[in-house]
């Protein structure tokens, strides 16, 4: 165990861990929202994210930005970021809706048992990933550079780059906006009402299917935002990237307490940190082992996760 390395680099490990965790957190929201509402683990959400990474790429190509373009000016960079965000959010949102309409809604209409939903979710995930794999020849696609990464501030031994800071801030802003939407607006109240008691929600005049659609769209948009940040940070995408990130994000959701929005944020950031610290301590090959070991240990002591409430009960 390399404590020396861990402590010598604790600052940098924390910064990069948080920015990785922020991406997990944004994806985790999609799992948590759908679980909170339908008690369904939407395994296809990993592919919703994957589609987002391609959505941003297509949007950039559409406006003529290619992987080897020179770094654009600041105003153009902002334009490209927005174009990428819209592209990612639209593709992710459409994918999420397609899954709901094609896979889940017909099952709900037939009152299918839980297990059938689960198998359908896994099947939908595989089908999307394979279809994109075939369509793209399983190739890896590089992303254009939108800005040059520079160190903005150095606190102690922590070098905070514009990229890491941007990712963390963007993710937290998205989370706060979503949290406010769920807790403060009429539509958000509708989502919470259906999550808590869908029959009583119907007695309030709330259309359950419309709320479900809204929830899938919200989860999709968040996954789209995560996809954009991923493109900026990681720099490549492929048809099969969804699986591992999906598992990680799902872990983050469970870690924080599935169904709980703030739990997803906490779980994502915690997972990012644990992974980074763990790989510093035990070696990079142990990264995933450490992450899942921590999950098991936390669930042993807090079976419902760190914050452990459902979407319905989570309160502003």
């Amino acid at each position: 165990m390399n404590f020396e390395f861990l402590f010598a680099n604790i600052g940098d490990l924390t910064v990069t861990g948080l920015s990785q965790g922020a991406i997990y957190a944004l994806i985790a929201l999609g799992y948590t929202l759908v679980y909170g509402l339908l008690k369904l683990i939407n395994f296809a959400h990993s592919e919703v994210f994957m589609m987002g990474t391609f959505g941003a790429l297509f949007a950039w190509q559409l406006v003529g930005l290619h992987e080897n373009n020179p770094i654009p000016s600041v105003p153009m960079m902002i334009v490209y970021l927005l174009v990428g965000l819209v592209g990612a959010a639209v593709w992710s949102g459409v994918t999420a809706l397609a899954v709901e309409f094609v896979a889940y809604r017909p099952l709900r209409r037939r009152n299918a048992p839980r297990l059938v939903f689960l198998i359908t979710a896994i099947g939908a995930s595989l089908a999307i990933s394979e279809a994109v794999g075939i369509a793209t020849g399983r190739q890896q696609f590089g992303m254009p550079d939108l800005f040059k990464t520079t160190t903005l501030v150095t606190i102690g031994d922590a070098h905070i780059t514009n990229l890491d800071l941007g990712v963390i801030v963007a993710a937290i802003v998205m989370m706060v906006v979503l949290d406010q939407f769920i807790n403060r607006t009429r539509l958000g109240r509708g989502i919470r009402a259906v999550a808590q008691d869908s029959d009583t929600a119907a007695l309030m005049g709330i259309n359950k299917n419309r709320v479900i659609v809204l929830t899938f769209v919200l989860g999709g948009v968040m996954a789209g935002a995560a996809a954009l940040l991923y493109n900026l940070k990681i720099g490549v995408t492929r048809a099969d990237i969804g699986f591992l990130l999906g598992i990680k994000a799902f872990t983050a959701a469970v870690l924080g307490g599935i169904g709980n929005l703030r739990g997803a944020l906490l779980g994502g950031l915690a997972l990012g940190l644990v992974e980074n610290y763990g790989s510093a301590l035990f070696g990079t090959s142990w990264r995933d082992v450490v992450a899942f070991a921590v999950l098991v240990i936390i669930l042993m002591f807090r079976p419902t996760g760190l914050l452990g409430e459902s979407l319905g009960k989570a309160r502003a």
């Binding site: 009429r186 109240r189 509708g190 919470r192 009402a193 808590q196 008691d197 029959d199 009583t200 929600a201 119907a202 007695l203 309030m204 005049g205 709330i206 259309n207 359950k208 409430e309 319905g312 009960k313 989570a314 309160r315």
Partner: protein, 236 residues
Amino acid sequence: MLLELQDLVVSYGRIEALHGISLGIEQGEIVALIGANGAGKTTTMRAISGLRAAHRGKIFLEGRDITRMRADRRVVQGISQAPEGRGIFPGMTVMENLDLGCYTRRDAAMIAEDRERVFTLFPRLAERRKQLGGTMSGGEQQMLTIGRALMARPKILLLDEPSMGLAPMLIQQIFAIIKEINGQGTTVLLVEQNAQQALSLAHRAYVLETGSIVRSGTGEELLADPAVQEAYLGVA
């Protein structure tokens, strides 16, 4: 006729819970539906609100067939229910619960007016605006359920067992408020096990036994009916 059920049959799987019941409620009335546990009272309410599909028979609101209408659409059409067992949202505050009551409405001024009206009827709710529904006492939760149903400004208010589990003092209070609500012009369909109170309050009433209506009449008539007395009023 404001609300009318014609030969309504509702089943849970293969078990028929309602064997074709018919009843009607006129504008401005309080109508009570009394019966023992498992007689089908709550099923009737759920069918009227659209939470249970009708197997056979029809439901009319103001002469319009609403049998196949979705539950949330019926709220817009004027049917509002305070469900049994205090179906409040425990994780939301009193204010949020009330706001959900007017989910389908957009007329901000009228909503504010209705909220004042609910707070006047239930001063306790005004005091506890910010409290979580789940942390309130049984009586307070019951008030919240009724207040929330009123926020939809319904043509007909469905009250399912408003007195369940409450202390006698509170029961008196709740029934007084129901009377007041009716006095302000809202039609009420009341389901109760507490037949004595319900029959004294209601203009008319129906007696439900194992999924069928066995008697009907005005409140006084049924109070005086020896069979009703023996079965529901504890008079030997």
